[in-house]
């Protein structure tokens, strides 16, 4: 069973829950938040405020969108890999995010297997860097 701590930032509650459930089943500890700031507050309020292995983040949210979220999260957790979720599978955007600090991206809708695999890869690289 895999292990690691994942922060899921998405304004869509049902999607957060679905991602949460999928990753919990795969063995991860999941924290949900509806935006970046609340996400950081949630991580810091948790049992182990120092530990975060992966951030999963929607890039089309009403308040702060796209690159700003990635940039903000990157500034708060410089070493934590970020997986961006996009509802708009434009490859150009995706590569832009990758160039801006994201480690991977998933185009919605994604299969649970793809989600778990992507998270596992990112956690592995993060643990390896530590």
């Amino acid at each position: 069973m895999a292990s690691g701590r994942v922060l899921v930032v998405d304004d869509e509650q049902n999607l957060r829950k679905a991602v949460h459930r999928t990753l919990t089943k795969a063995g991860y500890d999941v924290i949900e938040a509806e935006d970046g700031e609340k996400g950081i507050a949630a991580v810091q309020a948790g049992d182990n405020p120092l530990r975060l292995d992966v951030i999963i983040c929607d890039v089309h949210m009403p308040k702060v969108g796209g690159k700003e979220v990635v940039t903000y999260l990157k500034s708060q957790f410089p070493s934590v890999p970020i997986i961006v979720l996009t509802g708009d599978p434009q490859y150009k955007d995706a590569t832009d995010f990758l160039a801006n600090g994201a480690s991977a991206y998933l185009a919605k809708p994604f299969e649970p297997a793809a989600l778990v695999k992507t998270v596992a890869k990112c956690v592995e690289s993060h643990v390896f860097h530590h």
């Binding site: 869509e12 049902n14 999607l15 829950k17 679905a18 991602v19 459930r21 999928t22 089943k25 089309h60 979720l85 509802g87 708009d88 599978p89 434009q90 185009a107 919605k108 809708p109 994604f110 299969e111 649970p112 989600l115």
Partner: protein, 400 residues
């Protein structure tokens, strides 16, 4: 003493000279529509255009007899009457007096004006077109995002439901085995009553049906979700926002994705036969070509009443990619065949056709240095052939 109040009759000789030497053509016709006089300019025009005296009437508006009659009944008809001959356009005014014997036609060459007008129309059409494509693109991106969000958790949840469902069925099966074993032994009255309750519930809820159908229902829902995903992707591919750039594209894929968009329109009317040949990628504007394909496919479907056939094929012909779209529809009568690419020409009922589809398609194909041809037989069907040059770049980028 100078005055401008003198009647024109006072300048009769000058008016005659004015008419005769006027740089614009002037023709005088009698009540029967015979030419009685041509001024110098009209003579020159007649020579330039190689028209005989009998032919000269062809430069005048088609309804000239009617115009002559009106002039002789009611007087001057100084309105712009247009005529076209040998790529030249004329605007005519007719002058006569009630009860008179003859009518003057004064013409102006408006070819240049007409050309500009046509260019402006085409430009306006292109602007409308660009605007339309841009809004379709925005709409597509918006729809893709709006649908993909809920679709994401539907896909994830369906997966969990499938797993839970399988789990529940397995547990029920195990319980059933245990129940069969227990029922075989001596059991208490209470337990017997409980078992009866279980049997009742099974019958009432239709356990067998659940066991049989649950996996199918889940599979079908997952297939459905997959189809929604594909539709959204196709919609996006069909019109990439802000990606109106030239790029290398596989025409077979363009056709497939367009076909998916219009399949809802086609599938009740016709069987679609796809025959894709081995063709190289070509440098093109894929979203615009998609629109051409969509127009042709929708037209094909409109031409078919029911149980028809639409055939799509591609092939390489030397330095061209040939795309053929045929239908077994009603066909186009020969008198219309030459006009179908004209802007605003339509035979569809009001509200169904704009007369823009094929003219835009033809513009788009021209933009690609290609050509579009049509063959049609009434009652048999219509075939459109599009020839697109492969170009030097395209030859290198072979389909893998």
């Amino acid at each position: 003493m100078h005055t401008t109040d003198l009647p024109p009759e006072a300048f009769y000789p000058e008016l005659v000279t004015f008419t005769h030497h006027n740089p614009n053509p002037v023709l005088l016709l009698d009540a029967e529509g015979h030419v009685r006089y041509l001024n110098l300019a009209a003579r020159q025009m007649q020579q330039e255009m190689g028209l005989t005296d009998a032919d000269i009437l062809r430069v005048l508006p088609a309804n000239l007899i009617e115009v002559v009659r009106q002039c002789l009944d009611c007087g001057t008809q100084a309105r712009r009457l247009e005529s076209q001959i040998q790529d030249r356009w004329f605007g005519w005014s007719a002058y006569g007096v009630p009860g008179g014997q003859t009518v003057y036609f004064h013409g102006a060459d408006i070819t240049q004006y007409k050309r500009v007008e046509k260019e402006q129309n085409e430009l306006r059409l292109k602007l409308v077109q660009n605007d339309k494509m841009a809004s379709i693109g925005q709409l597509a991106a918006g729809i893709a995002h709006e649908i993909n969000n809920p679709l994401s958790f539907v896909v994830l949840n369906l997966n969990h439901i499938a797993n839970y469902g399988r789990g529940l069925l397995k547990i029920v099966e195990q319980y059933d085995k245990v129940a069969t074993l227990v029922k075989g032994s001596t059991i208490s009255k209470e337990l017997e009553a409980e078992f009866a309750g279980v049997e009742d519930a099974k019958a009432q809820e239709g356990l067998e049906e659940i066991q049989e159908e649950l996996p199918c229902l889940l599979q079908e829902s997952q297939d459905g979700a997959e189809r929604i995903r594909a539709i959204v992707l196709n919609l996006k591919e069909f019109s990439h926002t802000g990606e109106g750039a030239q790029k290398h594209a596989d025409i077979n894929r363009c056709l497939q994705s367009t076909l998916k968009i219009v399949s809802y329109e086609l599938k009740y009317k016709a069987k679609v036969i796809e025959q894709y040949g081995d063709i190289p990628e070509i440098l093109c504007f894929p979203q615009e070509l998609n629109q051409v394909f969509m127009n042709l496919l929708v037209n094909a479907s409109h031409a078919i009443k029911q149980n028809g056939e639409i055939r799509i094929s591609t092939a390489r012909r030397d330095e061209h990619v040939l795309i053929e779209i045929s239908d077994s529809g009603c066909g186009i009568p020969p008198e219309n065949l030459g006009r179908i690419f004209e802007t605003f020409f339509t035979t569809k009922e009001v509200g169904k056709g704009t007369g823009l589809g094929l003219s835009i398609s033809s513009e788009i194909v021209k933009k690609h240095q290609g050509r579009i041809e049509v063959k049609s037989t009434v009652g048999i069907g219509t075939t459109f052939c599009i020839w697109l040059p492969i170009g030097q770049e395209g030859q290198k980028v072979k389909k893998s």
